[in-house]
């Protein structure tokens, strides 16, 4: 080859290099090396070497993850993460309904004038990951932070528990005193105190980093908890990496030195990840993926009932569903078997507003498809063949792993059989919620997940119009329902309380603006060398990573 040729070749290479260099030059400008907080953490990390064997890879759809601050988290991904880092006063043992001590050794509730006085004795051995003791002062700081920051879950503290600044005091280092209004139920409040919103953060660590957002952005990349794990890094929309807390006060350090919570929105990818062993545990599989994994020698399926309820609701002031007969007709028109078939084992028929697993759940499912009955009731309500009703549905996957649109199509076909034409309108969930909140939707398909593990977490929203939740959104202002839900929530005697909820369930079942459909099962696929995996929907966190080990 001649010199000339080489020169030409070089020039050609040069052009490509200029191109690629300039292209990659865009990147550093946009991505200055940010010093990850992981650096400090790494210094304090356990000396045990990290291996694949002591690393747990957990894959789930965590698209909703927007914060890791325990005072702000309210979505699955966030509560799951924060729940393994931060601890609350009391807790549930997986699968058991009784409250157990966590950071509080003991507690006492007494009437004090027009308030309930709740006194908690903190466990003197409890320490933060930093090694400092957990004090009552830290709790006061943490709860006042929740009230100041006032994000989505703050109402649990301020309204459900009725806690305000000044009502929480540190009597001494290990004694915390809380006063709540006598009208509220201390039992309900205690169940709120199991939720991660009320978890303690270390005052000494957070206070210097408060900034304008009360420390939220700092807590997104750092942790200051007393739990078995600490936050190593959060790579937005990719994964959250947790490291075992070597100083964990509550027992031996976790077997899994590192937990990688991977964001994997596509269900087919999650199936593949557990099949190949890329992930040890994957969350939420559809019926077909579960069926495909059935019989896989390396993987076990764990199915657990959620506390979510899926329902159709109608607006009780808009025709035709302002007429109770039309509402009852709707409940008789739906083919519930088809919906359960679609779910392929990922959901159980539940036709009441209290889910299985909660006190007050009655287990009665009075409705099966009866088109004659439905037709007659619709006729009573003046609804004739050819009626058109808009039916609003979210563009997302319903709990249980089937698209909302698929379930809606099935209901649409049911009503078509008696000449009623449901016009499906698909909206993004956000848009749907906006219109739902504005009381604008005649009929829609949705689900509800209780904010705290108590029947009141469903009773008030579904029945009490004045709580501005579901009953309000459906314009259902019913004095009987409101009264029942109030009395049930405030009742202290467990048996009477359960009976009151039973009464409420039956009343709403036949008069309310809802056709309750199903309670979904959450399907996990777990590699067979993983032990100690428990999913408990009423616990916070729902999965305790520190109980997990590998054979």
């Amino acid at each position: 080859m001649s010199v000339l040729n080489t020169r030409r070749a070089l020039r050609w290479v040069g052009v490509l290099m200029i191109l690629s260099l300039l292209l990659s030059a865009c990147a550093p400008a946009a991505a200055p090396a940010s010093a990850p907080a992981a650096g400090e953490e790494a210094a304090a990390a356990p000396s045990d070497e990290l291996t694949r064997a002591n690393t747990l890879v957990f894959a789930a759809d965590m698209t909703d993850l927007i914060t890791l601050d325990p005072a702000v988290v309210y979505e699955f991904g966030g509560t799951q993460t924060a729940g393994n880092i931060y601890e609350t006063l009391v807790s549930f043992n997986p699968g058991e309904p009784e409250l157990v001590p966590l950071l509080a050794e003991s507690w006492e509730i007494v009437e004090d004038g027009d308030m309930w006085k709740m006194t908690f004795q903190l466990n003197p051995n409890a320490t933060f990951a930093s090694g400092n003791p957990v004090t009552a002062e830290d709790f006061v700081f943490s709860w006042e932070r929740v009230i100041d920051i006032n994000k989505s879950p703050a109402f649990l503290v301020t309204e459900v528990c009725g806690i305000s600044k000044g009502n929480v005091t540190a009597v001494d280092a290990t004694t915390l005193e809380v006063k709540i209004p006598i009208a509220l139920s201390p039992q309900v409040c205690l169940s709120v105190l199991t939720f991660v919103t009320t978890a303690v953060v270390e005052k000494a660590a957070v206070e210097p980093n408060l900034g304008a957002d009360f420390g939220e952005s700092w807590l997104n990349d750092n942790s200051a908890g007393s739990g078995p794990y600490t936050l190593s890094s959060w790579n937005r929309s990719v994964d959250v990496v947790l490291d075992a807390n070597p100083n964990y006060w509550g027992g031996a350090a976790p077997a899994m030195k590192r937990v990688i919570m991977q964001n994997m929105p596509e269900v087919a990818n999650r199936q593949a990840a557990v099949e190949t062993g890329d992930a040890d545990i994957v969350q939420e599989l559809g019926p077909e993926q579960a069926a495909a994994l059935e019989g896989n020698p390396d993987v076990s399926l764990v199915k657990a009932l959620n506390t979510i309820l899926a329902y159709v609701s109608v607006n009780a002031t808009m025709p035709p569903f302002d007429n109770p007969d039309a509402r009852q007709a709707l409940r008789y028109a739906i083919n519930y078997d088809n919906i359960i078939t679609l779910l392929g084992g990922n959901g159980e028929l539940v036709q009441e507003i209290i889910p299985m697993g909660f006190a007050g759940h009655t287990g009665t499912n009075p409705f099966t498809q009866d088109l004659e009955q439905a037709k007659a009731l619709f006729a009573n309500a003046g609804v004739t063949e050819g009626a058109v009703i808009p039916f609003t549905v979210a563009t997302a996957t319903a709990p249980g792993g089937v698209d909302w649109a698929t379930i809606a199509a099935s209901i649409q076909a049911d009503l078509a059989q008696i000449g009623i034409n449901l016009e499906i309108q698909l909206l993004q969930q956000s848009e749907l919620l906006t219109k739902y909140r504005a009381q604008e939707l005649p009929m829609l398909l949705m689900n509800w997940s209780p904010d705290f593990p108590d029947p009141d977490g469903n009773g008030t929203p579904f029945a009490n119009y004045e709580a501005q939740s579901l009953a309000w959104r459906n314009s259902w202002n019913d004095a009987t329902a409101i009264d029942l839900s109030r009395r049930a929530a405030a009742e202290l005697d467990p048996a009477t309380r359960t009976a009151l909820y039973g009464e409420l369930v039956e009343y709403v079942q036949n008069n309310g603006p809802y056709a309750m459909l199903y309670q979904p099962t959450r399907v996990y696929a777990v590699r067979n060398d993983i032990q100690g995996f428990i999913y408990d929907p009423t616990d916070s966190p729902t999965i305790s990573f520190w109980l997990i080990s590998r054979q």
Partner: protein, 294 residues
């Protein structure tokens, strides 16, 4: 880009030939004829879908969901037990209709803007071309997605979005064409004998932009079909239960390894339809505009 355009030699002979001659040349291109046949087949399927489809595309049979291809259901059934063959036929209606709709919308607007910009020239031309610059600066799918998302996800809004994204293509093409034609003898002659602007535009400029327009339109058909399906796939286009091909692939994405027929057939339908339009586009270009032969 502009550099190449101006560096390319300017054609000096008329590109339009008598129809018969064109047809003969077109039929010589075997691949183009094949493409045309494919398109015609899809067009027939689309038009006669109600007669050809063995099932109602929306009729459910939930217990018979996810059934593999059989004598009864040639392409199997989906989750709700709907017949995929019937849905694919109706999908042809939607995809071809969508393609046609968008190409006409965008083509009309783009041509109008292009003719005005090229003929009037000056600051108006400059302004209009800067506007097209803005549209070209966006990666088309991101802009289409933003528009469709803002308008609310529906097939109709997806079509509007794709039309908004694609009109500048025609505007630039036609403007270039008009710029070349504007100073040609027959236009100057017409102007010298006092022909009005309207007449010049109608008689002399517009007809001469038709052949590049036709070539562009047939390529755009394929692009638009893919774009609309892409929007539907990520949820910003046609909505379930509409039997649109992109929606069908999206609904079947979770079954890709367990129930392949849910996605395979709509994907193949799309491949053939789009390839058909591309082949015809190639053929048309070779016949109408040999200068651009590639």
């Amino acid at each position: 880009m502009q550099a190449t355009a101006s560096a390319a030699p300017i054609p000096t002979r008329r590109v339009l030939s008598p129809n018969a001659l064109m047809l003969r040349r077109f039929t010589k291109e075997k691949t183009a004829v094949f493409g045309l046949l494919v398109i015609l087949l899809f067009a027939l399927l689309a038009v006669f879908a109600p007669l050809l489809a063995p099932f109602d595309p929306l009729a459910q049979d939930i217990p018979n969901g996810l059934a593999p291809p059989s004598a009864e259901h040639w392409m199997g059934t989906d989750k709700l037990g709907r017949d995929i063959f019937s849905r694919m036929l109706y999908g042809a209606r939607i995809s071809l209709g969508a393609g046609l709709g968008v190409v006409i919308m965008a083509g009309l607007v783009g041509t109008l803007v292009g003719i005005v910009a090229g003929y009037v020239g000056g600051w108006l031309d400059e302004a209009l071309m800067r506007v097209t610059d803005i549209f070209f600066a966006f990666p088309s799918l991101i802009l289409a997605m933003a528009i469709a998302g803002a308008l609310g996800p529906s097939l109709q809004n997806a079509l509007i979005a794709v039309a908004v994204v694609t009109w500048p293509v025609y505007a630039r093409l036609i403007r270039g064409q008009v710029l070349v034609l504007r100073d040609r003898e027959f236009v100057l002659a017409a102007r010298s004998v006092g022909a009005s602007h309207g007449l010049i535009l109608r008689r002399h400029l517009f007809p001469n932009t038709l052949s590049p327009l036709l070539v562009q339109a047939s390529f755009e058909m394929g692009t638009v079909i893919l774009a609309v399906a892409g929007l539907s796939f990520i949820g910003f286009g046609a909505q379930p239960p509409t039997p649109e091909w992109g929606v069908m692939i999206s609904e079947g994405r979770n079954y890709i390894t367990t129930h392949w027929w849910l996605t395979f057939f709509p994907a193949m339908a799309m491949l053939f339809a789009v390839a058909g339009f591309n082949l015809v586009g190639d053929g048309l270009r070779d016949v109408l505009d040999p200068r651009l032969r590639r």
